[in-house]
Symmetry: C2
């Protein structure tokens, strides 16, 4: 980390953003110069406010309305000039406008660190603009998004290292959704389980493990976004490269007749109608000595990327080692014939913030 | 990676060194300026020789005898001046003289990248000299040693990220020796096994999975070296910080009467005398529904570091997920209450070289 350090602007100060602020308060080389939510902007927050948590009140009572993004750029450029420091912008939102503004942020010379999947899993056009804006790896702006897949788990960094050192990735396979991990770890066990699928989903929703509308998880779109992000890092996958997450073949777990239901409550209430279907799949798997897991698969040799419900032998790490709402990912490569596995919590504010903070440290190491 | 890139000097060109050279030949920003083994030095090897592998002949027929380390420093300083580039020295040896020369290399302004455990697990005095020489993280020389534990697996980087972002490490536990992983994965299985301990060791030796003298593995010293390296990264462990790997309580698997046998062959021939002892330990574990695994443990809460033979439930990932000669490591932290797990090949030239090459890329990103 440099003597100068870097300026950090944080857009989005919800659970993850708050945890990032808390982690950064112990790292003096990472200077928080701006906080912004959808309503307000707080410029140059006091160090004491950042470490005590009173920044939240200061932001709420700030007299500055949330800066439109082009004005934010101007302001950050002024602060960069005053301090002589490089600037990193952290996007903790899930806002499309912020995501599509990355090329402008990078174009202004700012690095971008993000746990938000939108930009990196969106249109190929946006992705190519981001690539072009970060092409000067020697001294240009940087983009890091470790937390977009598996939160703080070393997944994107590991994949980048494998590729940069010349390994050939053959297959990536993983349980990439904490919600779907929990649901199938409960529903389909090696010993056999007779709990109903709808009951597991209902309990998950009640405990806040699903989005308010469970279809947001059960549709698999979170997994196809993560697959898109990982796929785009694999140069040999060009032919199968997703045009965006919508082009990844994705098996939705939501029964056809429930796909247009707008209310999460009604959705959960009607799910029992389809329990027999899930029971049958589970029984068929168990007959083969297997369990059901909802996984993302990138099969480089076959040129295939998909999110789907698959069967794994009860002796497979996805069946034996995985618990709770953990993520697990397996990299099979030319060098790692027996896969390299990474497992652990793939969601949660503190571990997501850890990925963001570690990325910011890397920006400071390279541009501070 | 910078436009300038960095100069790389490689000391030790055996299996790992050769694999590093092969990986670097695809990375033009990493300029190999010197190769050295115990006999010869080759200056400014031709790029064509590096990618084709003919560097080995060129080194063997070089007219320059291996440079003494102080002369190597002078030579590398000349080359740094000529090229205007930062220099990284890679130590692929297991040589004590090279290890104790790290402070001088760092003092000359060179970064050091090493898969060699000697310096980082040796005396606390040497370690403190290395720390002092790398204290200027903003622009001073860097030291990376990802491959010293688990080869290319993301272990040291992950631990550093956890700590740098303010997580509190509570416990690290792992099967850190590929040889001892293989031996106990064969000897002690969830289903029960009746193979003799001496037979497993004999087969392992015949297949080259052990050192020529198996005591080098069975003594546990490789594990205590790795534990020392990891422990020294944990600031809150100060009271239990190993003075060096010899101060780590380490259970040797070599039966007392065999500890002074100089010949690996005689050692293996006499090992069957002690099979009953190992059979008994295995049976006792299985009676409790457990398997035996030789692990390294850093229990931060208890302030304890040890290498020992422990029992794990047959449902534990160390029993169910681990296969072959893989390493597995588990980090339990304040944020990761269910542990963060990393598993995969922890030895082998290509994966060890991967850790070295990825470390060199980081040096180039920061100093290139």
């Amino acid at each position: 980390m440099s003597g100068k350090g870097i300026n950090v602007a944080i857009i989005g100060v919800g659970l993850v953003g708050s945890a990032v602020i808390q982690q950064l308060s112990a790292l003096p080389a990472l200077h928080i110069v701006l906080l912004q939510n959808s309503r307000k902007t707080l410029l140059s927050p006091a160090a004491a406010a950042l470490s005590s948590g009173s920044w939240a009140d200061a932001l709420a009572s700030s007299s500055t309305a949330a800066l439109p993004l082009p004005e934010l750029v101007t302001k950050l450029q002024e602060l960069a000039k005053e301090t002589g420091r490089h600037t990193a912008v952290v996007d903790n939102t899930s806002n499309d406008d912020v995501a599509s503004f990355y090329p402008s942020l990078l174009g202004a010379g700012f690095s971008v660190v993000t746990p938000n999947k939108k930009a990196l899993s969106g249109s190929l056009d946006l992705y190519k603009q981001i690539q072009a804006a970060t092409a000067d790896a020697a001294s240009g702006p940087l983009l890091y998004g470790e937390s977009t897949v598996g939160a703080g788990l070393p997944i994107i960094g590991t994949l980048k290292d494998l590729i940069a050192t010349g390994d050939e990735v053959e297959k990536i396979e993983g349980v990439l959704s904490g919600t779907l991990s929990y649901i199938f770890n409960e529903f389909s066990t090696a010993k056999g389980s007779d709990v109903k699928f709808s009951t597991v989903v209902k309990v998950a929703k009640e405990n806040g493990y699903t989005e308010p509308h469970p279809d947001a998880d059960l549709s698999g779109s979170d997994v196809s976004r993560k697959l898109t992000i990982l796929s785009r890092l694999i140069p040999s996958l060009t032919s199968a490269l997703p045009k965006g997450f919508l082009s990844v073949p994705t098996a939705s777990l939501t029964p056809e007749p429930l796909r247009d239901i707008a209310s999460g409550e009604e959705y959960v209430a009607r799910l029992p109608e389809f329990d027999a279907h899930f029971d049958e799949m589970r029984a068929e798997a168990l007959k083969e000595g297997k369990v059901l897991r909802y996984v993302g698969v990138i099969d480089v040799l076959k040129g295939e990327v998909k999110a789907s419900l698959e069967r794994y032998p009860v002796t497979h790490p996805f069946a034996t080692s995985l618990t709770g709402s953990d993520n697990i990912i397996s990299f099979t490569t030319k060098r790692y014939e027996r896969p390299l596995l990474v497992q652990g919590a793939g969601a949660g504010a503190a571990v997501t913030a850890m990925g963001v903070t570690a990325d910011l440290i890397r920006v400071a190491e390279r541009r501070g």
